[in-house]
């Protein structure tokens, strides 16, 4: 019998929570060590996914299926393919790093914090492996609660409640409309095939009339676009990122945002392929606005965390631009860029968190010349910044290059506009880096800052390893996703030839 790896991955953190409940509240070190052990064990459990994953096939692997509510066609159905594999590994890889990063940062209500972190981990993995729409929706919503608590309880006292509620309501708004769309889809499937099921893979082949695809694409798309976040639904992001504790920002940026882009890949596009083609211009243009607008706004930020938050809007714009090309390099680039963004933006938030722990400020104006007292910090910061900009040899370049390549094939204008985003990225990152790190130490408080400790270096070492690895030899990762992407593209290609006008949609006519 095959080991149910995915169930272990989902429920092991839950078992970990139960274990933590029995530990003493006051034993903060013990709690952190226990959580560290749990998350490392989880990471080890996830390694077999990588090693025994068969990159030659687009089929779901490690599939587990059990009836949950059979009369309703709901089952506990999980599986992994190329799209989800890397994201799951990113999640399990980052969680121990996050726990390590809380060592000094989180000093009160440690137990509750760790419980939230583990619950979040369980929920995130659940989202990435669900192949049943109901199950997916449950995980999608459940995961909101721990994140909401992380921002609201451990965030920046001044505005944390505002940010937490904004985060919750924005995400909930999108997902509730998605729930209605899921129900419409469910009953449509039942009406056309006679069997009622929430099984995602069965629904892929369904021939849905275009006017229904149109609305359902928008309903699903809104939920995911808010999560990504795409312009103009991004306004929750800067607040949530800025107010969240460091680890919250890291997970938010590295994993939660990816749920949006993953949602497009897994649900929106394959379920409603004709509508997806129809919406290419709209979503590409929104993505481009996100890229350029995010970059320009970043440039003007005074707060480091806010700057990185807006840079996320820009980076995720690239991902969306790539996905909506429906070309091999575009989609592959989009997937790898999701991972890249997780690594480099996660690292950037950690970097800001570390300086915040030392100085209790994140304002760019308060710094300057930090490379003198903190040379190791400066070196790591520089590598991560360059990776975020997309310097060849580091991971960001691979993703952005592939995306622009794919875009160039389909629409040259989009590619040119998108490329300006790379230039702007260089502007805001390097300008920020210059103001923070170079020059004379102007503020006396910065003169005696301690450089990174071994623990902090240990946090970055694995991140930088992968930043360089993806930059130098991305095939290790691209090979795993190739078959899935090919299958996805073939599916999308079939649906290409539909020409519809908007008036037909509103009159509910089939093309």
């Amino acid at each position: 019998m095959q080991l149910p790896i995915l169930s272990i991955l989902i429920f092991f953190p839950v078992a970990g929570i139960v274990f933590l409940l029995f530990l003493n509240n006051e034993n903060k070190r013990g709690l952190k060590i226990a959580t560290m052990a749990i998350s490392l064990a989880e990471f080890c459990f996830s390694l077999p996914l990588w090693f025994s994953f068969n990159g030659q096939t687009a089929a779901m692997q490690f599939v587990e299926r059990r009836d949950w509510l059979p009369t309703y066609g709901i089952s506990y159905y999980v599986g992994v393919d190329g799209f989800s594999l890397l994201l799951i590994l990113l999640t399990t890889f980052l969680t121990p790093i996050c726990v390590l990063a809380t060592w000094e940062d989180i000093q009160h209500r440690v137990k509750e914090f760790m419980i939230c972190l583990l619950a979040l981990m369980s929920g995130m993995i659940g989202v990435f492996v669900s192949l049943d729409l109901f199950l997916f929706y449950v995980f999608w919503e459940v995961m909101l609660i721990p994140m909401y608590l992380l921002i609201g309880v451990w965030g920046n006292p001044a505005r944390r409640v505002y940010a937490a509620i904004k985060f919750f309501l924005f995400t909930m708004f999108g997902s509730l409309l998605m729930l209605v769309a899921i129900l419409v889809l469910y009953f449509h499937y039942g009406a056309t095939t006679g069997t009622y099921t929430f099984d995602l893979l069965k629904m892929y082949g369904l021939n849905i009339p275009f006017h229904m695809q149109f609305w359902m694409f928008l309903a699903f798309g809104l939920a995911f676009a808010i999560k990504v976040p795409m312009f103009p639904f991004h306004t929750w992001l800067p607040d949530a990122h800025t107010e969240a504790p460091t680890v919250g920002s890291v997970i938010l940026a590295a994993v939660l945002l990816k749920m949006g882009t993953y949602g497009f890949l897994r649900f929106n596009m394959p379920l409603f392929p004709q509508a997806a083609h129809y919406f290419v211009p709209l979503f590409s243009i929104l993505a481009l606005i996100g890229i350029i607008y995010g970059a320009l706004v970043s440039m003007m930020q005074k707060d480091l965390k806010r700057l990185i938050a807006f840079s996320s809007v820009s980076h995720l714009g690239f991902v969306m631009l790539g996905l909506f090309t429906f070309t091999m390099p575009g989609v592959q680039g989009g997937i790898i860029q999701m991972i890249n963004h997780g690594l480099s933006t996660g690292a950037l938030f950690l970097i800001v968190g570390m300086i915040y722990e030392r100085r209790h400020t994140r304002m760019i104006a308060d710094f300057g010349g930090l490379s003198t007292p903190m040379p190791v910090y400066a070196a790591i910061f520089l590598i991560v910044s360059l990776s975020s900009i997309g310097l060849p040899g580091l991971n960001g370049f691979v993703g952005e290059f592939l995306i622009l390549l794919g875009t160039f094939k389909t629409n040259k204008l989009y590619a040119i506009l998108g490329a300006t985003g790379v230039i702007f990225a260089a502007c805001y990152m390097l300008w920020m880096f210059q103001r923070v790190m170079f020059g004379e130490v102007t503020n006396d408080k910065n003169r005696d800052l301690k450089d990174l400790s071994w623990r902090e270096i240990a946090i970055f070492a694995p991140l930088i390893l992968f930043i360089v690895w993806i930059g130098v030899y991305p095939s290790t990762f691209l090979d795993k996703t190739k078959a899935t992407t090919e299958n996805f593209l073939a599916m999308m290609e079939k649906a290409k030839e539909t020409k519809v006008s908007l008036s037909q949609v509103f009159r509910g006519e089939a093309p």
């Binding site: 949950w68 509510l69 059979p70 009369t71 309703y72 209500r109 109901f134 929706y137 449950v138 919503e141 459940v142 909101l144 609660i145 909401y148 608590l149 609201g152 309880v153 944390r160 409640v161 937490a164 509620i165 919750f168 309501l169 909930m172 708004f173 509730l176 409309l177 729930l179 209605v180 129900l183 419409v184 469910y186 009953f187």
Partner: protein, 486 residues
């Protein structure tokens, strides 16, 4: 002239009979036993309720009518029996310490509670409109008195008086509607016959529509739907908290039982006519309830408006008027019973002696002073907001799927948007509990075993049946087979 007494079986109304006997016994014992030795009434009530539950389970599966076709014997009825018994039992458990603090732990309280439950049972079982009306009155009169239990408290008096006057008014509407229906149907009020008779009476269509409208007013009042909700906040706030909990779950469930039975059995052919009306009522109820709840700072008032909003969600199930709608109604009422009683249990525990802490700001900092209590409250809030993995989510999921299945996609969209609004005020409680420092030291909370048990059991139920809803779903499907037209 001879008087024919039709044959009947007492076991058909076994649960109601048991509760009546228990209630009378309590009243007698109360009168006969010396002062100061009257602490066993809760136990006695619970024993009666347990027996009634046992009887109801024994009846499960029986079909037909009894008492000259006055009451139905079917799983729909028995399902509601169990909801009522559960709601009443949890209320009894919550009451004792709460009432003792007020010096009101009296026999008549428990007797009235049981009488009200009997009324609810008759409403759910009624096969004749007069039977439903009698049940409604038995229940209402007992609840009027319960609302005014704290005679010395002006707000309790206000609650009782307001409820009595407006309630009588609504009952009159209901009765008037029945009278017109009697005329239109040619002299029958048996639910089973009505559908056939009304189908034949095409010339009397306006009269029938008027009577439907009047029945909607009567039932709408009892379920607290907009625009018949004006009494709800004041009565819920003024009544003793345990009675509020009882009203919010029991009265609502009973009214919905009758509402659903009458409309699904007698008026199903005229679905087109009343669907639009209920559609508007549902949207108005959800919206007014949720939006007004945002502005409340008294927790009881907030839960009152939230209960109005929940009546709106339940109306959506009625609008859908399909089998799934009926199932979702049953499931949701059970879910609502558990989560709302749990929430009121926390309110009573936090409120402590004589309701000293009813402001929502009294919950500030609760999360870290009483973690378990706050976690339970957070669970109930998330459940009421409809966030998985709780019963509240599954219930809403069923209701909105029923609406989508019936083609009311816009209603489902308005419903989910309303859930979003409700998230805001439910979240505020969790914000206060976890994200605000305590304004003052909350001091010790007296965890009496009975009240703690209610919170623990409901919390467990809300979570367990939220993750494994299959059993209750099948039960509800079984119970709604009685509506052939759905």
């Amino acid at each position: 002239m001879t008087l024919n007494i039709p044959s009947f079986q007492l076991s058909s109304i076994g649960p109601a009979l048991t509760l009546t006997v228990t209630a009378i016994l309590i009243l007698l014992l109360d009168a006969l036993s010396p002062k100061g030795r009257k602490t066993y009434f809760p136990q006695l009530s619970l024993a009666g309720l347990a027996l009634a539950a046992f009887q109801a389970i024994g009846l499960w599966g029986r079909t037909g009518t009894d008492f000259a076709r006055m009451i139905y014997l079917d799983n729909f009825t028995f399902f509601f029996y169990l909801i009522f018994i559960l709601g009443t039992a949890l209320t009894v458990l919550l009451s004792r310490q709460y009432l003792e603090d007020y010096g009101k732990n009296m026999g008549e309280y428990y007797a009235l509670l049981l009488f009200a439950t009997v009324g609810m049972m008759l409403m759910a079982a009624g096969a004749h409109l007069i039977m439903i009306f009698l049940g409604l009155e038995i229940m209402s009169i007992a609840v009027y008195v319960l609302a005014g239990l704290f005679r010395e408290d002006a707000r309790s008096n206000e609650a009782a008086l307001k409820y009595l006057i407006l309630g009588s008014f609504a009952s009159a509407f209901l009765l008037f509607g029945m009278a017109m229906l009697y005329g239109a149907a040619g002299g029958t009020l048996y639910l089973g016959d009505l559908a056939g008779r009304l189908a034949g009476a095409t010339a009397l269509q306006p009269l029938i529509l008027l009577s439907i409208a009047l029945l909607v007013v009567g039932f709408g009042f009892k379920v607290a739907s907009v625009p018949f909700h004006m009494w709800t906040p004041d009565v819920y706030e003024g009544a003793p908290t345990s009675v509020t909990a009882f009203m919010a779950v029991g009265v609502k469930a009973a009214a919905f039982a009758a509402f659903a039975r009458v409309f699904f059995l007698a008026f199903l052919a005229m679905k087109m006519d009343w669907n639009m009306l209920l559609w508007v009522l549902a949207v108005a109820t959800m919206t007014v309830g949720n939006v007004t709840a945002i502005a409340q700072t008294n927790i009881k008032r907030m839960l009152a408006y939230s209960s109005i909003a929940h009546a709106g969600y339940l109306l959506v199930a009625l609008v859908a008027a399909n089998q799934l709608g009926a199932v979702s109604l049953l499931y949701y009422l059970l879910a609502y019973t558990l989560m709302n009683l749990g929430a009121f249990g926390v309110v009573i525990l936090v409120g402590r002696k004589r309701d000293s802490y009813l402001n929502i700001y009294d919950y500030s900092g609760l999360g870290f002073q009483h973690p378990a209590l706050a976690a339970a409250m957070a669970l109930f809030m998330f459940a009421l907001a409809g966030i998985p993995p709780t019963m509240g989510f599954v219930g809403k999921f069923y209701i909105f799927s029923a609406a989508v299945k019936a083609g009311y996609i816009w209603l489902a969209i308005l419903g989910v948007l309303n859930s979003l609004v409700s998230v805001f005020y439910y979240l505020r409680i969790t914000v206060l509990m976890y994200m605000k420092p305590a304004e003052a030291d909350l001091g010790p909370v007296l965890f009496t075993p009975a009240q703690t048990a209610v919170v623990a059991v409901t919390a467990f139920g809300v979570l367990w049946f939220g993750i494994f809803p299959g059993f209750l779903y099948d039960l509800a499907v079984n119970a709604t087979k009685i509506f052939p037209g759905l």
